[in-house]
C-alpha cells in the first residue's frame, strides 16, 4: 500500500458517535470503491492497535490470525473490522462516520485511511479499446487504421462458408469464387464466410462506418469449403487449399477447425500440404479454436491450426487480454499459438438483410492476420511463403501474456 492520502480522514469527521455497530454503511459514491476502508497503521498491527481502532470506531475487531491465515474481505460484516497483523493494515466495514472518527483519536497522525477499491485482472491497457467512427477497435489495435498499405495486388483466399456476393460493401470488387461443397453455390447461407472476408478484405469506406476491413484492395478468392450448416470435411478444405495455391494466393485464411485432444499429434497430411503451400508462396492461416473456458479450462489448439507450418491465431479482447474462449499451446510440435489478433466483439459485414454484425471467436482473429499478411506482402513484394510468415512474426507487438496463448504477440500492420 502506498502512502497516498486518498480518502484520508478529513476535517469534517464527526467522531465516534455511539451509532450501532450494525448500522449499514453508506453506498460508495465512487463506483470503484466497495464502501469499506483500509487503514494503514504506521506502528504495526498488534492486538493493542486493533483495540484502539475498536475504541475509536465502535467496530467489532478481529485478528487475521483468528481465521488461520485464510481471512477474506467477506469475513467482515457490517459493523466489523479485521486486522492483518503481518501487514499492519486493518479492513473496516462500518459507516463512514465511524471510520472518520479515527481522525479524532489521539493516534490519527499514525494512520492512513483509504477507501477499499475494486480491483480486477487487467491487460496492458486498462481502458478497453473501442470502435471509433473511423475504425473498429481491431483495426486500431493492429495499427491497420494508420497503415499506408491496402493489400493492392495481393491475392487472399478465404476458405469458409462462402460469401454474399450481393453485399453492397463488395460491390465492384473482383471476387473469384468456387464451391467445394457438394451441390452448392458459393452463396453464404451461414454468414461466417462473409464476416471473415469482410475482416480480411472489407472496403476502406463501408456502407456503414466504421471501417472493419484490413486489406481493402486485396484480390478476394472465396472457396466455399464449409456447408450451409457450418461444417465441412478435410477433403473439401484440402481441395480449397489446392485451388488457392494454384491461383497464386499469397494468403489462405481458414477460420475453421476441429478439436485436437491433449497429446494428439498434428496431421501429417495437412503439415505436408502447408509446407508445400509455403514453398509455393502461400501462407496458411488458421483459427486456434474457441473451446477454452479460461481461466479454468485451456483447450489445445485445434486441427489444422496445430500443424507447425500453419499459422495458428489466438484471440485477444479489447483490453488486450487473452479471450476467455481462445485455445492455447497445450500440445507440442506445432500445437502452439503463433500470433494473436483481435477476436472479441468484432464488427464486420454480414449477409443481407442484416448487412452488419459483431461476433467473437478466433475466426475473427484469423482474418485480421490474413489481411495484415496481405499488407506486408504489398509492402515487400519479394516476401512470400516462409519469408512473409517471418515478416509477420517479427513485426508483432509483444504482449505480457504467455507465449503459449499469444505466440509472438499482437499482429501489427506495416506503416
Amino acid at each position: 500500500m502506498g502512502e497516498r492520502d486518498v480518502g484520508k480522514v478529513g476535517a469534517t469527521a464527526s467522531g465516534a458517535d455511539g451509532r450501532s455497530p450494525s448500522a449499514a454503511p453508506s453506498r460508495p459514491v465512487d463506483p470503484r470503491h466497495t464502501g469499506r476502508h483500509v487503514v494503514l497503521l504506521k506502528d504495526g498491527g498488534s492486538r493493542a492497535a486493533a483495540e484502539r481502532l475498536r475504541n475509536a470506531t465502535g467496530l467489532r475487531m478481529s485478528m487475521s490470525s483468528d481465521f488461520d491465515g485464510r481471512v477474506r474481505g467477506a469475513h467482515t460484516a457490517t459493523g466489523e473490522g479485521v486486522m492483518f497483523e503481518r501487514l499492519g493494515v486493518a479492513l473496516l466495514h462500518g459507516d463512514p462516520d465511524q471510520v472518520r472518527a479515527l481522525a479524532k483519536g489521539a493516534g490519527a497522525r499514525k494512520l492512513i485511511v483509504e477507501p477499499e477499491r475494486i480491483v480486477r485482472v487487467s491487460g496492458p491497457w486498462d481502458d478497453p479499446l473501442a470502435d471509433s467512427e473511423a475504425a473498429t477497435w481491431g483495426l486500431q489495435a493492429t495499427r491497420v487504421a494508420s497503415s499506408r498499405f491496402s493489400g493492392q495486388g495481393v491475392r487472399v483466399a478465404i476458405l469458409d462458408t462462402g460469401i454474399d456476393l450481393q453485399h453492397p460493401d463488395f460491390a465492384g470488387r473482383a471476387i473469384v469464387s468456387q464451391s467445394f461443397v457438394a451441390g452448392g453455390t458459393v452463396a453464404d447461407v451461414f454468414g461466417h464466410g462473409t464476416q471473415c472476408a469482410g475482416v480480411a478484405c472489407g472496403p476502406l469506406n463501408p456502407g456503414r462506418p466504421p471501417r472493419y476491413g484490413v486489406a481493402p484492395d486485396a484480390e478476394i478468392y472465396v472457396g466455399k469449403v464449409v456447408g450451409d450448416d457450418g461444417s465441412g470435411t478435410d477433403g473439401d478444405v484440402l481441395a480449397g487449399i489446392d485451388w488457392a495455391v494454384g491461383n497464386g494466393c499469397a494468403v489462405i485464411c481458414m477460420a475453421l477447425g476441429t478439436t485436437a485432444r491433449q497429446g494428439e499429434p498434428h496431421s501429417q497430411v495437412y503439415e505436408q500440404v502447408a509446407a508445400r503451400s509455403l514453398a509455393a508462396g502461400s501462407v496458411l492461416v488458421a483459427a486456434a479454436g474457441n473451446q477454452s473456458q479460461r481461466p479454468d479450462t485451456i483447450v489445445p489448439v485445434d486441427h489444422p491450426a496445430d500443424c507447425p507450418s500453419i499459422l495458428s491465431v489466438g484471440a485477444v479482447d479489447p483490453h488486450l487480454g487473452i479471450a476467455v474462449f481462445s485455445n492455447g499451446g497445450r500440445n507440442p510440435d506445432g500445437g502452439e499459438v503463433d500470433i494473436a489478433a483481435p477476436g472479441v466483439a468484432i464488427l464486420s459485414c454480414w449477409p443481407g438483410p442484416a448487412l452488419y454484425q459483431a461476433a467473437s471467436g478466433t475466426s475473427m482473429a484469423a482474418p485480421h492476420v490474413a489481411g495484415i499478411l496481405a499488407l506486408l506482402a504489398e509492402a515487400d513484394p519479394a516476401a512470400r511463403g516462409q519469408a512473409l510468415r517471418a515478416l509477420l512474426l517479427r513485426a508483432a507487438s509483444g504482449l505480457p501474456l504467455p507465449a503459449g496463448d499469444v505466440g509472438a504477440g499482437l499482429a501489427q500492420a506495416p506503416q
Partner: protein, 96 residues
C-alpha cells in the same frame, strides 16, 4: 463414414465393410508419378475421387481395415481419415 452391408443368399453370413473418407499425402519424390501412386492405391481398395496435384494429395475412400495398407504404397507419406471441421466462431453471443 459409410457402412456397406453384404448379405449372402444363405443368410448364414452377413458382412459389414466400414468405408471411411481418406486423404493420402504423396511424397515430393513421387510427385511426378502421382497417377501411378493413385493406381497402386486403387488396387488396394482405394476409391479415388480427386487428385490435388498442387499440394500432392489424393482424396477418396477406403475400407477402414485397408487404411494401414495404403500407407505401405511406395510414394505415400501419410494416410488420414477425414475429420469434420467447423467454423471458428466462439459459442457465445456476440457483443456489439
Amino acid at each position: 463414414m459409410t457402412d456397406i452391408v453384404i448379405s449372402y443368399p444363405s443368410g448364414r453370413w452377413r458382412c459389414v465393410v466400414r468405408r471411411v473418407k481418406v486423404a493420402v499425402a504423396i511424397g515430393e519424390d513421387a510427385f511426378g508419378r502421382i497417377q501411378q501412386v493413385a493406381e497402386a492405391c486403387r488396387q488396394l481398395g482405394f476409391e479415388h475421387e480427386s487428385t490435388l496435384s498442387g499440394v500432392g494429395v489424393l482424396v477418396g475412400s477406403a475400407a477402414a481395415d485397408d487404411v494401414a495398407r495404403l500407407r505401405t504404397v511406395p510414394g505415400v507419406t501419410a494416410v488420414e481419415v477425414e475429420r469434420d471441421l467447423r467454423h471458428g466462431r466462439a459459442p457465445r453471443p456476440a457483443r456489439a
